[in-house]
Amino acid sequence: MTDPNGHTLDERGRGITEASGGIGTLTRKDFVSDQEVRWCPGCGDYAILAAVQSIMPELGVPREKVVFVSGIGCSSRFPYYMNTYGVHGIHGRAPAIATGIASARPDLQVWVVTGDGDGLSIGGNHLIHALRRNVNLKILLFNNQIYGLTKGQYSPTSEQGKVTKSTPFGSVEQPFNPISLALGAEATFVARTIDVERKHLPEMLRRAAAHRGSAFIEIYQNCNIFNDGAFLALTSKEGRTQNRIYLEHDRPIRFDRDGSKGIRMTGAGHLEIVEVSEVGENELLVHDEHRYDAGLAFALSRLSAGPHGPTPLGVFRQVERPVYGDGMESQLRSAAADQGPGDLAKLLSSGDTWDVD
């Protein structure tokens, strides 16, 4: 089956993005480009690059069908390092460019790599509109809570009071919570993970790849030059145990040593952290990624205003909703079916005509 341009589609008419298995011969190395990687030594971007390269062969999408699109920022250099098709765009516009690619070519798997400045400051509007439209994009937001490439100004995710080059007396701004913003923008897949999470990060990437529609992952990424240690509350030895709340579908939400703590919904509509030993496991909220009502996912996103205390990680929401490109394609198909394929000569002489001889 092919689309009107002759691109291969699966039996549901939806491109091959979700096809699994297939091209099993590729390895991680096949996705490594010949360009020298130029991030600062120690930058969290390396780990994310490695994770992406490592999961690509599993996805069953041939290299030539993969496109990485980015804006400008340290993180946005990403496409150069992937041996796939790639566009290093301009600041903030990656979601727009990627929307063009994904809706022109449903047969491609399109990834967007963006930063907290690129994606949430200058590019915030394109991001929320892509999520609302549910364009078939995998969006990785590298959140280092700082502008790396321009050498250290605060970003829309920097915490209030942050002293940076542009805020020598401390920032007076409330940061965005990217998960809340994405949910408020109708996102169908929303997840969070951390650069150093060797297992969880690839797992989230796989989940995003498998989601048809916009998949948004916030990745906490350490910028060791301009904002080192921003995620220590989650990555330090102690914090790792105390503060990571892993969300798992259909499981009661528990965390801390031996799952001693949990999350409960009160009748008044609050989420609260409780000692499991005190309330009993039955009282705990059971996570449901697939609940269409985004209310609870949003409530979970409010548990932490920033990565400073107990913070949920994992998939907040994953629901099915018509995909933008699919809607477009099906209109093309039904128009061609109803009206017959376009006939240029007929079009040009449509309407009232007259002959002169």
């Binding site: 290299r63 063009g100 690619i101 394109h126």
Partner: protein, 619 residues
């Protein structure tokens, strides 16, 4: 100069023949003047007249009834010979005092005024500041005034149609059309058919409209209004249709898609006067046309660029303020060297300016409105029908040279209509492209290895195994396209990007001029002033004045012979609906003195005024 309908000939006798007539219909936004004009035009076109039309929309959606701001007008110029401009109205149909007030100044002295007397009540007169009633105070004495109580006659006529009084009253535009149809010998049938089809679901309304139309016609006959005839024009043989500039653009883009065998992808954000191209293209999904209404103009061009990267014919349409917003992405497109068509339908600026009015003031912005050295080709349409050509030509250049192209149109061209000799599809140029399919340097693929002749880079689209590559806005090494900060490479790439665009001058039609060889003055135009300049020069020459004219359709690069043509003349006069933008380009490029005639009134040049100004400049 051909005589016009208006003056003389008031006696009802045999239908008097006229070479050409200009009628303007004017009324409240809600009065349906656009539809009335459109119907009159359609019938005239089918009859075989040559014609040029010009709608004049109010800036407000629907300003208060009876206010000046709410006046909507439609002008049609029809003739028995080939004409070029909307002309000056000899006949004004005014449905209320506001319409009279707003338009009277444009009507020829001695012209006909056909007025709906029912609306000339105290309230309506006061609304627009008439202190006395012009129907009575003698202020219209130098015109031929026809006072017709159109509202009440319409209401009478629709009794029995089943329509409510209010619905019936809304048919008064058809009454007016009936009157005019009588006066200019236009058949009613096509309009009756049209109305019956349009209101097929609301029979009472169809009935009311038809009744009003017939009543108007009957009134003309009974009241023995003067009646005229304008014979068909002699046009080249073939099939014709009427087309507006925006429609011709849409068709031209679809033709480009068909002729290039690339699916069309439009990313656009609504803006007057460009929105209709989006609306039109959105209808042709059976041609595989994808239209995406983006969240803003930046996203719109970004999407089109993304589509271009993936092998589509990427297009974005806008007007001035939107072009501002596209600047940065245009620079990226230049750096990526991807084909892209950016259409700017110019309107009155700066800023929001006069959004529903025409102007030619984005030329220098199109040339230079991006940071860095960022040249790109510019094509300009010059009449409604020429938009078809302009779209195809822009696509041809974009695809052949792997470059974004700006196509400039304007509000006057966009909404104006003229008969269009429908082209034969077989004769349209083949602009098909070849995507890269093979490595081009050993086993590698270099995305910036240029074609020797065109300097275009290869276009390898996702899905092509083995040609995986990355492009971006940082400077690229010549050939490999890898990021390069090398100083000499940057200089070289800058030169190559410039040379590529410049060389297009070899690949476009040379500049032609018409006028006798002994003319010493050349009138040089571009864009939507084509018709007016042509008509004025024609008139001047008819009066023995030695003047030649040339019209630029490519603004960057200009045809190779441009300098040579200009240097043949002692004087180059450049009339523009701006403060002298082409003039600046000509002076900078050719060091030739130019005389500018500038007008920024939101309207086309008045041919009378332009004629007078040119006359003074001819030695």
């Amino acid at each position: 100069m051909t005589a016009q309908a208006a003056p003389s000939a008031h006696v009802r006798a045999d239908r008097k023949e006229l070479p050409r007539v200009v009628v303007r219909f004017a009324g409240d936004s809600g009065d349906g003047m656009q539809l009335t004009g459109d119907r009159f035009t359609s019938v005239s076109a089918a009859f075989g007249n040559d014609l040029v039309t010009m709608p004049d929309f109010p800036a407000e959606i629907r300003a208060p009834a009876g206010s000046l701001a709410g006046v909507s007008a439609f002008q049609i110029h029809f003739s028995d010979h080939d004409i070029l401009t909307p002309g000056q109205p000899g006949v004004l149909v005014a449905m209320n005092p506001a319409a009279l007030k707003a338009n009277l100044g444009d009507v020829m002295r001695g012209g006909m005024l056909i007025l709906n007397t029912d609306s000339f009540d105290k309230r309506n007169l006061e609304k627009v500041g008439f202190s006395s009633n012009p129907l009575e105070d003698g202020s219209l004495d130098s015109y031929q005034v026809y006072k017709i109580p159109m509202t009440s006659m319409t209401i009478d006529s629709v009794k029995g149609s089943g329509a409510s009084k209010k619905e019936g009253e809304r048919s008064k535009n058809m009454f007016a059309l009936g009157v005019l149809s009588w006066m200019y010998s236009r058949p009613l049938e096509p309009t009756i058919e049209y109305l019956e089809k349009k209101f097929s679901k609301k029979e009472s309304i169809a009935n009311a409209n038809v009744a009003a139309l017939k009543a108007g016609h009957a009134f003309g006959e009974t009241a023995e209004l003067s009646a005229f005839e304008v014979k068909p024009a002699t046009l080249a043989p073939g099939r014709y249709r009427r087309i507006t500039g925006n429609q011709a653009l849409a068709y031209g883009l679809i033709a480009a898609s068909v002729q290039s065998k690339l699916p069309l992808f439009l990313g656009s954000y609504p803006i007057t006067p460009a929105s209709d191209v989006l609306h039109e293209l959105a209808r042709y999904k059976n041609f595989g046309v994808r239209t995406l209404q983006a969240e803003d103009e930046i996203a719109a061009i970004g999407m089109a660029l993304g589509a271009a990267f993936s092998g589509h014919l990427g297009i974005t349409t806008t007007s001035g303020p939107g072009l501002d917003l596209k600047s940065e992405t245009l620079g990226l497109a230049i750096s990526l060297e991807l084909p892209l068509i950016v259409i700017d339908i110019q309107r009155g600026g700066p800023s929001t300016g006069l959004p529903t009015k025409t102007e030619q003031s984005d030329l220098l912005h199109a040339m230079y409105g991006r940071h860095g050295e960022a040249p790109l080709p510019i094509v300009a349409s010059y009449s409604p029908a020429s938009c078809f050509w302009a779209a195809l030509e822009s696509a041809r250049i974009a695809l052949k040279y792997m470059t974004p192209v700006i196509l400039l149109s304007d509000g006057y061209i966009a909404n104006g209509a003229e008969p269009w000799h429908i082209p034969t599809v077989d004769k349209l140029p083949d602009i098909s492209v070849r995507f890269a399919s093979q490595p081009n340097v050993g086993e590698d693929f270099w995305p910036y290895l240029r074609d020797d002749e065109t300097l275009a880079r290869p276009w390898a689209i996702p899905g092509t195994a083995g040609l995986e590559h990355r492009v971006g806005g940082l400077e690229k090494a010549d050939g490999t396209g890898n990021i390069s900060y090398d100083p000499d490479n940057h200089h070289l790439m800058t030169q190559l990007r410039q040379a590529k665009i410049k060389a297009i001058e070899e690949d476009i039609d040379p500049l032609e001029f018409d006028g006798s060889e002994d003319s010493r003055v050349l009138v040089l135009g571009w864009g939507g002033t084509y018709g007016t300049i042509g008509e004025v020069c024609r008139r001047l020459r008819a009066r023995g004045r030695p003047v030649a004219r040339a019209h630029l359709k490519h603004l960057n690069p200009m045809p190779k012979n441009t300098g040579e043509v200009l240097r043949r003349f002692d004087k180059v006069v450049v009339p523009e609906l701006n403060m002298g933008q082409l003039s600046k380009l000509i002076r900078a490029e050719f060091l030739i003195e130019t005389v500018s005639i500038n007008c920024v009134r939101g309207l086309p040049f008045s041919s009378t005024e332009l004629e007078a100004e040119l006359e003074e400049l001819i030695p």
